[in-house]
Amino acid sequence: MYAQMIKSEATQDDPEKLAAFQARIDAGEKIEPKDWMPEGYRKTLIRQIGQHAHSEIVGQLPEGNWITRAPTLERKAILLAKVQDEAGHGLYLYCAAETLGVSRDEITEMLLDGRMKYSSIFNYPTLNWADIGAVGWLVDGAAIMNQVPLQRTSFGPYSRAMIRICKEESFHQRQGYDAIRKMAEGTPAQKKMAQDALNRLWYPSLMMFGPSDKDSVHSAQSMAWKIKMNTNDELRQKFVDQTVPQAEYLGLTVPDPDLKWNEERGHYDYSDPDWSEFFDVIKGNGPCNVDRLAARNKAWDDGEWVRDGLLAHAKKKAARKVAAE
């Protein structure tokens, strides 16, 4: 989910080695950083884990926006803890990507100059407090759909990062649902805000899973390599099936007139999001693309003297210690 439209890299390796590699994956073995791997596997994973990491980091922006304006001290402390978790999730993932031979600075710069993407969802604004509840409930809910199966992914460091993340992610979704439930059960004006947040965030949440399977051309190789565990449509359906009853409990209406339970399929039928909007957001034309990248660039530039200063201090201290010995 946090990784959308990851292109599988073509691989031009020795067929014998490729077959042995695929056999290891088929047998459920984990691939570790020093093991032989096809160049395509390495490159696809760097792109996918990197995009996932960037999404965790950029995802702090729409929520961080509300930390100072949370309605109570308790909500503020909870949101602060949640946003801090997202920083941690980004860090686990960056470290997993680094084991594939890309440096932290390189991967950061690829985000900052637009060579790498983050999830389309974070290009939507959080206009009011109800949006913060809806983000936890829907966005983190969608993330979990994808992250739970990824715990079984073939690349060891990625799998271990996912296991840590999943342990923490459930707190994120539950705090979001709890926050929006307060509003849905509140005054008519509060309930209206909750409904409005659902109206605006429903389709962008469905987009998080990426284009429909019939337009998703890169899945087969990634699924064979077990770096993608389910198709986009499978996960989207699962998300809809899980979320609709949760909305009903809140007395909120999912903004899809064609949404209905299909007894035969055992799933909800639902409308696809507007895919032209999705591709437009990916291209950089969403409501917040410019702001998000500007904020990340500013943080990187403003932090440079701190990074340099701390390293210079560490070197000086180390030199003094050597001199004293």
């Binding site: 570790e32 801090q84 941690g88 860090l91 686990y92 600075d105 990074r307 201290k317």
Partner: protein, 94 residues
């Protein structure tokens, strides 16, 4: 060469009496900051009572191609496992 902070591998003792276990890695300018960062990143939910940090480039590791020579010799020595030996029931637990 950019001023990138070195990478540290982080080991956490989960509870008293357990050994330290590798939990992940992070970047920090020095050991002291690595411990502080590790505390923030890896022990936010009471996961630890003690932290070790080791600069990643100080770790030596066996190579995957050594798997055969390193581990195959032990495969033929089943007598190293207690279940290799039949002890008569009359003798009791041993």
């Amino acid at each position: 060469m950019k001023n990138e902070w070195p990478l540290w591998e982080i080991f956490i003792r989960g509870q008293h009496g357990m050994s330290h276990r590798h939990v992940g890695s992070l970047h920090a300018p020095d050991a002291e900051m690595a411990i502080k960062n590790a505390r923030d990143v890896y022990t936010r939910r009471n996961e630890g009572v003690s932290i070790w940090v080791v600069e990643a480039n100080n770790i030596s590791a066996s190579s995957p191609s050594d798997k055969g020579p390193l581990y195959e010799p032990s495969e033929s020595k089943v007598y190293r496992h207690p279940t290799f030996f039949d002890i008569p029931d009359e003798v009791g637990a041993m």
